[in-house]
């Protein structure tokens, strides 16, 4: 089929779903609403698959489907088309968005069926898919920004979906406002790029990107990429703007799976991968990205150790895994970052949906201290969650293992990487293994700590089928990118992933580091992999010991680290710090501005103006009496005055 039509259907199908559900948003017919929404996304998924197959059939050098629908903006030398590009990167993204999106829509039918706003919910969800597709397909930064803002809006609407609870409404606002800070930086980045290169088209930007590296901190490319990265920290929840993501768990659980794990939060990583030639030209920015990514990965994982809300644990895990992706792109391993993006979308969507299934089965209970032993009540949820757990801790041959190992190896060996990044990554992996095992142990294994009133049940088939599909993907998803060192022993599996992305990823200018390590490359890679896997296994077993074999151990450990534990449990008091340092002073100043400037100056001025006009009107009114003789007198007096003026001159 014609590519233009195919992409139009891909984009507009969710819009149709949104409109169909949007105009009848008060309906409580969850089957109809869910079928429309799921069907709309499924149509998009089919289009994505067809586009992907077309792309595969093209020769590797020019795998790129670009269509333009109309000229959107044409001002002087700024020309923005409503153009969309399907290439190696965006084709993977649309497959993830629509594929995982379809499964999550399907799950939502079961999860939201007793909610009154179910039709509105599905309308928002479709709108989100549309905006996300605009974000990944847009051929210029401005088109991408439209989607970027659109997904932010949908995220806000869905986090605050149960807005009658003011805490949930506040969480929505927090997400939106935090994102605004990043978006402002993103816009500045676009300005700098347009000033420097005179275009916002990403294909042209990548072609124009300097091939020599820019050493200065204040170079145009470095500044622009830094600004874009600040935008990414907002959208992808990195230090210092990560605070909104844990609160975003106020939304319905499938929303957390779709928006706050699989798709929207990866937009920052995607943007960096798409503009990789620009970022490669700015090593200082790359260093900042890798540092922030590594710091976020470790810091969020530490918070994850102390949380008791099942969704909060997963939220901090998401922040941590996003940190991994930024670490990957920061050291120049764009392919590995992209691969972790995909495997993470599989296993984190799976775990979020699994937690949704648990919450659903436990009748809206989210505290893992009140769970335990759910394995026997929810066998399918437990088994699929187990697959997700093995994937995220990086158990060998599960999907997370390949992507995480690729990131760690690149963090160590890349010219932009270093041992410290590798150590941070391994610490992150160890912590991840610990808190994920803890989550498994407290939720599914061990003795039941259920309330006697609660009778957990396995979820219906419509919820478990998406779990099973995602579980399969979480297990086998990694085989698209088997590293060469392992592939050669498994019957020479080629690294499809690297071959696929190779034309769109620019190589980092090599330096002497690679040359010296090239000789013992293979042995080094095996030993690093072995070290990290061994440490992860030890960590997981420790967690198992803490929570299953000797359930009291964690209490003792917590007592030893009393103040530290408290510090971590309160998320390092970052929220409190932001309130004290930023939000409260702004609120205070705003109140002053309101009171002194608005009420006492601007309002007063307008009142005075009104009073003057009113008084003038009262005076003028006294002349208009309706008495004809008086009018005649005014005329007479007027004539006398004018005549005397004329004659006396």
């Amino acid at each position: 089929m014609n590519h233009q039509i195919l992409i139009a259907i891909l984009l507009l199908s969710p819009v149709v779903g949104f409109l169909l559900n949007g105009v009848r948003f008060k309906s409580a017919n969850y089957v109809l609403a869910g079928s429309i929404a799921t069907g709309a996304v499924f149509v998009s998924f089919i289009c994505s698959v067809l586009l992907f197959l077309d792309l595969v059939s093209m020769p590797a050098e020019n795998r790129r489907i670009a269509v333009e629908f109309f000229t959107w903006i044409a001002v002087d030398n700024l020309k923005i088309n409503a153009g969309f590009v399907v290439d190696q990167i965006s084709s993977i993204m649309i497959l993830i968005i629509t594929g995982v999106g379809t499964l999550i829509h399907l799950f939502s039918i079961g999860y939201m069926h007793h909610d009154k706003g179910v039709t509105k919910y599905f309308a928002y969800l479709n709108l989100f898919i549309f905006n996300m597709l605009i974000l990944v397909l847009g051929d210029s930064l401005l088109t991408m920004f439209v989607g970027w803002e659109g997904v932010g809006l949908c995220s806000y609407l869905l986090i605050g979906f149960w807005f009658s609870d003011s805490a949930k409404a506040a969480a929505g606002m927090k997400a939106f406002i935090t994102n605004r800070i990043g978006d402002a930086a993103f816009i500045i980045g676009m300005f700098i790029l347009f000033m420097t290169f005179g275009t916002l088209n990403m294909h042209e930007l990548n072609a124009l990107a300097p091939t020599t590296i820019e050493a200065s901190w204040l170079g145009a490319v470095t500044l622009a990429t830094l600004m874009l990265f600040i935008g990414a920290t907002g959208k992808s929840a990195q230090i210092p703007l990560y605070v909104w993501l844990p609160d975003a768990m106020a939304g319905p659980t499938p929303v957390s799976a779709l928006i706050h794990a699989a798709t929207m939060v990866t937009a920052g990583v995607y943007m960096i991968i798409r503009l990789n030639p620009l970022f490669i030209a700015a090593p200082n920015t790359m260093f900042v990205i890798a540092t922030i990514g590594a710091a976020t990965a470790v810091m969020a994982a530490i918070i994850g150790l102390t949380q008791y809300d099942i969704k909060k644990v997963l939220a901090y895990s998401t922040v941590s895994q996003l940190g991994y992706m930024f670490l990957a792109v920061g050291v120049g391993a764009f392919g590995a970052g992209m691969m972790h993006l995909m495997t993470h979308a599989f296993f984190k969507a799976l775990m979020f949906l699994g937690s949704g299934s648990v919450i659903h089965g436990m009748h809206e209970e989210q505290d893992i201290r009140k769970m335990g032993g759910l394995k026997k009540y929810m066998p399918i949820t437990h088994f699929t969650f187990l697959m997700g757990w093995l994937a995220i801790i990086g158990f060998p041959l599960f999907s997370g293992f390949f992507s995480k190992d690729e990131i760690l190896w690149n963090a160590f060996s890349s010219p932009r990487g270093g041992e410290l990044f590798w150590i941070a990554g391994v610490i992150g992996a160890i912590l991840t293994a610990f808190y994920m095992t803890r989550l498994m142990a407290l939720t599914f294994w061990g003795k039941s700590r259920l309330d006697s009133k609660v009778h957990p049940h396995e979820s219906s088939l419509i919820m478990t089928i998406p779990l099973m599909i995602l579980a399969i993907l979480s297990v086998v998803g990694g085989f698209v990118g088997v590293p060469h060192v392992i592939g050669q022993y498994l019957g020479h599996i080629p690294n499809f992933w690297e071959q696929w992305l190779e034309p769109v990823i620019r190589a980092i200018p090599a330096n002497e580091f690679v040359a010296t390590h090239a000789a013992d490359h293979e042995g080094l890679e095996w030993s690093l992999m072995g070290t990290s896997v061994a440490l992860v296994m030890i960590s997981a077993l420790t967690a198992f010991y803490f929570y299953i074999i000797k359930p009291g151990t964690s209490e003792k450990v917590r007592k030893i680290f009393g103040p530290v534990y408290n510090f971590v449990n309160h998320k390092y008091f970052v929220d409190e710090f932001y309130f004290a340092a930023v939000i409260n002073p702004i609120v205070k100043q705003s109140q002053n501005l309101w009171f002194y400037v608005d009420v006492h100056f601007i309002d007063k001025m307008t009142y005075w103006t009104a009073d003057i006009v009113k008084g003038g009107g009262r005076v003028a009114k006294s002349f208009q009496t309706g008495n004809m003789q008086q009018y005649a007198m005014y005329i007479g007096v007027g004539i006398v005055v004018v005549l005397s003026f004329v004659l006396m001159r």
């Binding site: 309706g626 004809m628 003789q629 005649a632 007198m633 007479g636």
Partner: protein, 108 residues
Amino acid sequence: MLETSFLNNIGLEHYLVLSAVLFSLGMAGVLLRRNLIVLMMSIELMLNAINISFVAFSKFNNNPEGQVMVFFVMTIAAAEAAVGLALAVSIFKRFKEVNIRFFEHLKG
């Protein structure tokens, strides 16, 4: 024998002064009186004051056009008097008086 030589000394100024005095009297009547009949008489007075100055200018400038204008003024004055008196009659029928404040009752 009546001395008539002063008649030859009457100039344009005299007519204009007479006209101005009559006009002022008429205007005072229009402004101050409340009786509709008196008002209309005062208006008539003002119109005729103007007529005097028209005729005077016509005579002294040897231009007959001013006198033509006077006929127009008189015609219009007659028409105005007819309309005004008709109004006065109907007001009188209703209120037994012709004070102009009764015209306020014509307000919509």
